[in-house]
């Protein structure tokens, strides 16, 4: 019997593989931020930060933080040579206008129709949507990044989201710590599974319809 263990690193590692160089990518706060650590040095992925910059660099060296240079999570960052700053209207113009190739966001629930809920648990947690609604509605390809199961064991992939939606039918790809799925035709199409899990285990532990892609395979990560 396979026991589930949360593994955020494998999610970040798999998502980093989508990028071949030249893509413009927005990484959400939390888990998605980890993706930056796994992009190979020889691949130039251009990171956009919705608070107003393109060409996001790594965290500054200790003592080198500048009060006027933060990411959307208010953490000090750097900008790479060739980067640019802009105001919030331009930043979301870039996002809404389809000039961001990929957005990677965290998940409370994601369903097989491509609906995403990640900004609100009514009565319990209402942080606000920030830029998430624009990012999901506007980016060309939306990747939902999430551990496969709740602490309770419940699947975060659903037939139908029950929480308020961040956006309707916009999610293209879901990467969890058990596999990588495309959202197509109203089901989760399993493209890759990650050891030690198996397609059978995934079907059993997901509260949604899973279909195996014709080229479904085990991924080496």
């Amino acid at each position: 019997m396979i026991e589930y263990h949360e593994n955020k690193e494998i999610i970040a590692r798999r998502i980093a593989r989508f990028f071949h160089g030249g893509e413009v990518v927005n990484l959400g706060i939390g888990l998605p931020t980890l993706v930056a650590n796994f992009i190979p040095k020889d691949k130039t992925v251009i990171l956009q930060s919705e608070n107003g910059l393109i060409g996001l660099g790594p965290a500054p060296e200790p003592g080198k933080a500048h009060k006027d240079l933060t990411n959307a999570g208010f953490m000090p960052v750097t900008i790479l040579p060739g980067g640019a700053f802009f105001d919030s209207a331009t930043s979301f113009g870039i996002i809404r206008g389809g000039h961001v190739d990929y957005t990677v966001l965290g998940v409370l629930e994601v369903d097989q129709e491509g609906n995403l809920a990640n900004y609100k648990i009514p009565g319990r947690m209402v942080p606000g949507m920030g830029g998430a609604m624009d990012l999901v509605a506007g980016s060309r390809i939306v990747i939902a990044a999430t551990t496969h199961c709740e602490k309770s064991g419940a699947s975060k992939l659903k037939r139908r989201c029950t929480l308020p939606l961040t956006a309707a039918k916009e999610v293209d790809i879901v990467v969890t710590d058990v596999g990588y799925f495309k959202v197509e035709g109203g089901v989760f199409v399993l493209k890759e599974w990650f050891e030690p899990y198996t397609p059978e285990w995934i079907k059993e532990h997901t509260d949604a319809d899973i279909v195996l892609a014709p080229d479904c395979r085990k991924a080496e990560l």
Partner: protein, 229 residues
């Protein structure tokens, strides 16, 4: 060009009167007009409506407070129109207690609504929020088979913005990600107070590098907290 009046943070705060709608620049405190906010907190004016990206950071345990959070802690707002309150638990407490009304607006929509007000547009059509709670009570318009929400202009009475540099005419230049909502807020209110770190003579800025042209700015305030680091 005419010179703008340079006033103190306390004088700036006096321009904000009970019941007014106040647009404030800054993103979680980055690029916030901290000196004017401190003076407004000191002054204690209540019943305000805030238009801002967020209610900034209020972390009482960690002792961290930023942006408009002091005004939230002071309960100076009757209502906040923002995209995010997650880093300021006091906002959520006031909302749950029915003390403060919170209108959550997607960040890109907020930016466009403020810009629309400043630029004389009635509103804009955005795909953001279609199929979510955000569409409640709004007109939905379909163009070439795609649905959009009609989001209306959001103007205010006084804007408080923060720039790195200004010339005495009131032209503003922002620094890095401290730009964020500042240039937008500066368009949308009849009175615009710009807190600046560095004030130069007229002619001291390259007219190609100006981010906010002088005509948007009413008063200048020398920043106390935000001198160059």
């Amino acid at each position: 060009m005419t010179e703008k009046r340079v006033i103190s943070a306390a004088e700036a705060a006096k321009l904000v009167k009970e019941g007014m709608t106040v647009h404030v620049g800054g993103f979680l405190g980055c690029g916030s007009p901290d000196s004017v906010i401190a003076a407004l907190a000191e002054q204690g004016t209540t019943n305000l409506v805030l238009v801002c990206n967020d209610t900034a950071v209020l972390d009482q345990k960690g002792g961290r407070i930023s942006g408009v959070a002091p005004l939230v802690a002071n309960r100076q707002f009757r209502k906040v129109i923002v995209s995010h309150i997650g880093t300021n638990p006091e906002t959520q407490r006031q909302m749950n207690a029915g003390e403060t009304e919170v209108e959550l607006v997607p960040q890109g929509t907020l930016a466009e609504r403020v810009r629309a007000a400043g630029f004389g547009l009635g509103g804009i059509l955005t795909p953001t929020g279609v199929g979510t709670e955000v569409e409640q009570g709004k007109q939905k318009i379909s163009l070439s088979g795609k649905d959009y929400l009609l989001e209306t202009a959001l103007s205010g009475d006084v804007a408080l913005v923060k720039a790195k540099k200004a010339d005495k005419a009131g032209n503003l230049v922002y620094s890095m990600t401290a730009r964020n909502f500042n240039p937008l807020m500066a368009t949308a209110c009849p009175v615009v107070i710009a807190e600046v770190e560095e004030l130069v003579e007229i002619g001291g800025l390259d007219p190609d590098e100006v981010h906010t042209p002088s005509i948007f700015v009413t008063y200048l305030v020398q920043s106390e907290s935000g001198r160059p680091s």
